[in-house]
């Protein structure tokens, strides 16, 4: 089973990258689970025809006590099982604890045993800011981390923080950084900046995603570009990343 957590600066395109990667895996016949770990709860929207999924935290807040996976998940494009942790009422509660509580619920509901996924993707809010946001990279959850960044200064700054945080956990058996996904914003010298960063942290750039109007076009239709037109150059980049990760898993 491939289990990947995707981190990056807020607004850098983590959910876009994650849902396109999920769609690529699914189109290749893989059983995929995508778990959005963000109070915004919009990670899986483009796998679900643009419909938002009720987050687990909303269900818990309303007093529900889910007993089955189908009460907290929805099936999207290519059979991707979509789950959103969501978050507490803004300004109240604890979003990190919400992730932990959701993960414990998923364990109780035997997510991996019931779904038997080939691929699990965790789309994680911004940064590894506390114990809750490190939960996806703990033993038993993700085993690899992909860091999404552009060539913008603050995106690279956040990427560096994420790498440092993840590497601090190296002795704990947590997930390790597999590589960097360059999500282009078309800033000057973008590729050189990101490759220099990747080289400095000793990790490869595993995908180079061009800035694409097609992504926005298909997002407006509530789908990913992979679903809308698999032959597009941008779609093929996601297929290439999926193939790379599958090849490694097989090896």
């Amino acid at each position: 089973m491939i289990k990947i957590a995707i981190y990056g600066k807020g607004g850098i395109g983590k959910s876009t990258v994650t849902s396109h990667l999920a769609a690529a895996f699914a189109a290749m016949g893989k059983r995929v689970v995508q778990i959005g770990c963000d109070p915004k709860a919009d990670s899986t929207m483009n796998l679900l025809g643009g419909r938002p999924l009720t987050p687990v935290m909303d269900l818990l807040r309303d007093g529900a006590e889910p007993e089955r996976l189908d009460q907290i998940s929805a099936t999207g494009f290519g059979g991707v099982v979509c789950i959103e942790t969501g978050g507490p009422t803004p300004g109240l509660g604890c979003a990190g604890r919400g992730i932990i509580a959701t993960f414990q619920l998923l364990e109780e509901l035997d997510l991996f045993g019931v779904v038997k996924p080939d691929v699990v993707l965790y789309d994680v809010l911004g940064d590894v800011v506390c114990g809750g946001f490190a939960a996806p990279i703990r033993e038993g959850y993700a085993s690899q981390v992909l860091i999404v960044t552009s060539g913008e200064k603050m995106a690279l700054y956040a990427a560096n923080n994420i790498n440092t945080a993840v590497e601090q956990f190296a002795g704990r058996g947590y997930a390790r950084v597999r590589g960097v996904v360059l999500n282009r914003r078309n800033v000057p010298d973008e590729e050189a900046k990101v490759r220099a960063f990747a080289e400095r942290i000793g990790r490869p750039v595993v995908a180079d995603i061009p800035r694409s109007d097609e992504i926005n076009l298909y997002e407006e239709q509530g789908q990913t570009a992979v679903q809308g037109d698999p032959a597009l150059p941008v779609s093929r980049r996601f297929f290439a990343l999926a193939e790379l990760l599958l090849r490694e898993a097989d090896a």
Binding site: L60, G63, E65, C94, G96, R97, I100, C130, G131, G132, A134, A135, R138, E139, R172, G173
Partner: protein, 381 residues
């Protein structure tokens, strides 16, 4: 989630369950917390506290340690203490604060083990769950950790599983040993009262296990799945019921099949026992056998894994419990259920440490003994 009570008490916390389960095994049990749960556990939930030493500790977590995520402090403190105390193992469990901030207790346990060479593990708690979950997970954890190899089964031997004083009377281990001895059995190993660390590897070699409370069910299932040790689920209340349980032990050992004796009761009755599932269900079965009346079970411990019958009730709030008790003419329950029990139902008091702590210990009859059960029988007439 529904665990709240306005008029009654609440059941002991999962951390107290862990401490209670491991109390006699010679390990260090550390609740990662500021300090409050120390007095709750020692003064309310642990009848052995003043009679018998045990290495139960609180980590003295500070706000600064919590917000800075200083796991190293706990690791260092435990290593230093363990070097002096030389425990058989170290067990960690979390109170609400570390559970909220996602403290990685498994990592801390691994760090302690790698530095001291002493087996260390964490039991997942949050200080909010019930004692049953904590005790159950702790029993299963030591069973899995210290009973790893299959051994040849010894005929007429029994494991006693789930004997915590939160559910069972003090000295229940000795009473049960005497009962089993009278029927030709010897006790192979115990989880709970009377348990010994060195006996844990022998758990795999018993011909049968006796699960005396819901706290022992997870370990029993684990031993059954890994080593084929069948189990009988029953709290052998004195008299005809205890005789039945002993005969079922022989049946289970012979057939290799597990038996739930706490559900061997006739259909819906006009009386009920409210409490933990195995002890309460067994008492209901024993009362049914002795009185000829129907006795049901009201099982209000959240997440109680004990087997129940379809007409048994599982209330989780005061209102649900009041409605449940109101269906019966007589209900045997802890005295602290008095404010919840409706006036038309007669409450027959039977103290339960997991619910009322040590408040009523002195007047708690021991249902495993003749005198104790006769007291209960007299009170239900």
């Amino acid at each position: 989630m529904k665990q709240f009570s306005v008029n009654g008490s609440i059941y002991a916390a999962d951390t107290a369950g862990v401490c209670s389960a491991l109390y006699e095994l010679g390990g260090m049990t550390i609740v990662h917390d500021a300090s409050g749960c120390n007095s709750t556990y020692s003064t309310h939930d642990e009848p052995r506290w003043y009679d018998r030493e045990s290495m139960i500790y609180i980590s003295a977590l500070t706000e600064r340690d919590a917000v800075t995520g200083d796991d190293e402090k706990l690791i260092g403190d435990v290593c230093e203490a363990a070097a002096r105390l030389k425990p058989n193992f170290v067990c960690l469990c979390a109170s609400p604060m570390p559970a909220m901030i996602g403290t990685d207790m498994d990592y801390i346990a691994a760090g302690i083990e790698s530095r001291t060479g002493i087996p260390a593990f964490a039991v997942r708690t949050n200080g909010i769950g019930t004692y049953q979950k904590g005790a159950s997970d702790a029993f299963r954890a030591v069973s899995r950790r210290f009973c790893a190899r299959e051994t040849e089964k010894t005929p007429k031997t029994v494991n006693l599983l789930g004997l915590t004083p939160l559910d069972l009377p003090a000295g229940a281990d000795e009473t049960l040993k005497a009962l089993l001895r009278a029927h030709g059995y010897t006790v192979q190993a115990s989880l709970g009262m009377g348990g010994a660390f060195d006996d844990l590897p022998k758990l795999a070699g018993a011909s049968v296990s006796l699960v005396t409370s819901g706290c022992g069910l997870a370990a029993a299932r684990d031993l059954y799945e890994r080593f084929g040790v069948p189990y009988v689920t029953a709290f052998p209340v004195y008299g005809k019921y205890a005789e039945l349980v002993c005969s079922l032990l022989a049946t289970a050992a012979l057939t290799g099949k597990c038996v739930d004796a706490c559900t061997m009761r006739p259909g819906r009755g006009v009386n009920a026992v409210a409490g933990e599932g195995v002890t309460g269900g067994s008492l209901a079965a024993a009362l049914a056998m002795e009185t000829g009346e129907g006795w049901d079970l009201i099982a209000p411990v959240e997440g109680d894994p004990s087997p129940t019958l379809p007409f048994d009730l599982r209330p989780l709030t005061d209102d649900e419990t009041r409605l449940a008790m109101g269906r019966y003419e007589r209900v045997v329950a802890d005295p602290l259920y008095a404010p919840i029990c409706p006036p038309r139902t007669k409450l027959i008091e039977l103290p339960h440490v997991a619910y009322s702590g040590r408040c009523f210990l002195r007047r708690a009859p021991d249902a495993l003994t003749r005198a104790g059960f006769e007291t209960i029988l007299e009170s239900v007439k």
